[in-house]
């Protein structure tokens, strides 16, 4: 039973950010349209004031066309493009200058000017497009400088009269920049939260499904398999043993799944028990202590689990070979942050003093258990059975629900 539905990384959500950019583009378009309306009306109303009407109309048309192009492009892309906005600003500056030239008239210093209000209104678009305020200030300066120079050079205004007007651009662009920045920041956060929520929901759904499967397997399939393995309906002993082994493995897996771990330790112990029974040794596995402690296999280092299982396998093998008995008790429990695995048989026993080859545990296994931080103790006496105890300390972080 593989967990195939595991960890498919969900695409990072950009919905919030996309919506924010679209909203900002709409703002850009809004201000642009407002500006175009303004110059159209101003141009129409003051048409007679201009020296050269065709040129003014041409200028207005050019500005409108450029504006329309910018809006169409930005709407299509779904966000403002800094390079286009910069070009737009330059274009605006140029038009400002041309406009200054076109509106000098017999009135001298009064300035019937439609490009200036237009440039003020549309300057909001400048703030929206750039990420850094330094860029915003730099680009705004193009506009302000264009205005100032054309006002002083062409209209011969006094510079300090026009400086306040020139400075008007800056609050517009900077406020727009600040607002856009905040909006983008918020929408990024929103998207991150959305990602987390989606992943959590997916994880929850997966866990629920796993639990459901585990319960179904446990209540039905597992009991059926175990009954089939124990009963006499299947006459082929080998087949029954095979069923028993699979049932044992499944039991370990299911018990692990319902406790939220991969059942590594339990499943393997169950398999060992079944293999032993296949060789004529009936092992009574008492895992209640371990189950009550509610420690997950995932929290125990893999080497510790492997060392414990190998040591158990070897010990079981020894009992099968040498004890001359057909039952043994294998106990798993957790005491004081230590995993304790003990194997007891009431067989022949042996004299630990006599280092007989094949009795006790292999040196390498002793070493592996020791390396993982555990100890193995074997007590035996001739005629008094054998008792093996493996103690494997658990990492500090584990909090067994006692």
């Amino acid at each position: 039973m593989t967990d195939a539905a595991a960890a498919v990384p969900s695409a990072r959500s950009t919905r919030g950010q996309t919506q924010t950019e679209q909203a900002l583009v709409h703002a850009l378009v809004f201000f642009r349209v407002a500006g175009l309306l303004q110059i159209s009306i101003a141009g129409y109303v003051d048409l007679d004031r201009y020296r050269s009407i065709p040129l003014v109309v041409a200028l207005i048309t050019a500005v409108a066309a450029q504006g329309a192009l910018l809006c169409a492009y930005s709407l299509r892309r779904g966000h403002t493009s800094p390079s286009w906005i910069t070009a737009d600003v330059v274009f605006c500056a140029v038009c400002l200058t041309i406009d200054a030239g076109l509106t000098t008239g017999p009135y001298g210093r009064s300035w019937v000017d439609f490009m200036y209000p237009f440039s003020v209104i549309t300057s909001y678009g400048v703030g929206i497009a750039y990420r850094r305020w330094t860029t915003v200030v730099a680009v705004t300066t193009i506009l302000a400088a264009a205005y100032l120079t054309s006002a002083t050079a062409i209209h011969h205004d006094l510079i300090w009269n026009d400086i306040p007007d020139a400075l008007t651009y800056y609050p517009n662009t900077l406020v727009a920049w600040a607002v856009a920045r905040q909006l983008r920041h918020t929408s990024r956060n929103l998207d991150q939260h959305l990602d987390v929520a989606v992943t959590a929901a997916a994880d929850l759904a997966r866990e629920r499904e796993r639990l459901r499967h585990a319960r179904i397997l446990h209540d039905r399939v597992l009991q059926t398999m175990e009954a089939l393995a124990q009963g006499q309906w299947i006459t082929d002993a080998d087949l029954r043993a095979h069923i028993a082994e699979e049932a044992a493995w499944l039991r370990g897996l299911v018990q692990g799944a319902s406790r939220g771990d991969d059942g590594d330790l339990l499943a393997n112990m169950q398999v060992l028990v079944q293999r032993a029974s296949h060789h004529g040794l009936r092992v009574r596995l008492n895992d209640s202590g371990y189950q009550v402690a509610d420690v997950s296999s995932r929290q125990i280092p893999a080497e510790s689990i492997a060392a414990v299982i190998d040591a158990t396998r070897e010990a079981l093998f020894n009992v099968t070979k040498h004890a001359g008995v057909d039952t043994a008790t294998l106990r798993l429990t957790v005491v004081d942050h230590t995993l304790v695995v003990s194997l007891l048989d009431h067989g022949r026993g042996f004299d630990p003093q006599l280092r007989r080859h094949g009795l006790g545990l292999d040196q390498s296994i002793h070493a592996r258990v020791a390396e993982a931080g555990g100890t193995v103790e074997i007590n035996s006496a001739p005629g008094a059975g054998t008792h093996m105890e493996i103690r494997m300390p658990l990492p500090e972080k584990i909090s067994p629900h006692g």
Binding site: Q223, A227, G231, Q232, R251, N286, S288, V292, R331, G402
Partner: protein, 228 residues
């Protein structure tokens, strides 16, 4: 089977089985019928199916083997209470929550074995329970030891906290390890009878106070059922 019954072979232990899983039911029945030691008087799916007729008179079982969760996902404690008033109950389960097992013992069960226990273990438990004793299997011992350690560490203010003596705890630990009563006696340096006493004491500590209460309530419920 019926021949042995008619010939009045009272040495056979009469067992009733309650399990909602049909194949498990057949499995246990088959297991018990293998030897001449047991006679299965009833094999039903739920405790409610055990009628009055099943429980009294000549067909009365010595032991009722009952699946702990045969009626859904909650342990059938009410059934245990009722049945343990008139007969003896051995609880089995494929796998049980430790708290449910302790609850079952407190409700009056005389023992607990896991469903995939080997036949020998099951038969031994049945013999013990039929004789009126407490079938303290290795599994049950571990569960009790862990649960009682829990409650005495004061995790929850429990009105019926059970405390075991040091000897009783040692007994539980050794039984959980797999030692027989006789071997426990040797290790503790006492007689086997003393160990048997420890085991009985553990049981009565779990069922004290409850017993009279539960018995009374169970008898009343049985009477109410008879009237229907």
């Amino acid at each position: 089977m019926s021949d042995a019954w008619n010939s009045g072979d009272w040495d056979m232990i009469r067992v009733a089985i309650v399990d909602d899983h049909p194949i498990a039911l057949r499995g246990i029945t088959g297991l018990l019928c293998e030897t001449e030691q047991f006679h299965v008087t009833a094999a039903v799916a739920t405790a409610a199916d055990l009628t009055h007729g099943h429980l009294v008179g000549e067909a009365a079982p010595d032991v009722v083997i009952m699946d702990l969760y045969h009626d859904g996902h909650d342990p059938c404690l009410a059934a245990i209470v009722q049945l343990s008033a008139v007969t003896r109950v051995l609880v089995v389960s494929a796998s049980a929550k430790p708290s449910d097992v302790v609850g079952a013992v407190r409700a009056g069960a005389s023992g607990y074995v896991t469903k995939h226990a080997d036949a020998q273990l099951l038969r031994a438990a049945l013999e013990t329970v039929a004789a009126g004793g407490f079938a303290l299997s290795a599994h049950l011992a571990d569960i009790l030891q862990a649960s009682l350690r829990q409650s005495s560490s004061g995790r929850a203010p429990d009105s019926d906290v059970v405390t075991l003596s040091a000897r009783e705890e040692q007994t539980l630990d050794l039984i959980a390890e797999g030692f027989t009563h006789a071997q426990v006696a040797t290790r503790l340096g006492v007689s086997k009878a003393t160990v048997d006493t420890y085991v009985e004491r553990i049981r009565s500590k779990l069922q004290v106070g409850n017993k009279a209460e539960l018995t009374r309530a169970a008898m009343e419920r049985l009477k109410a059922r008879d009237r229907q």
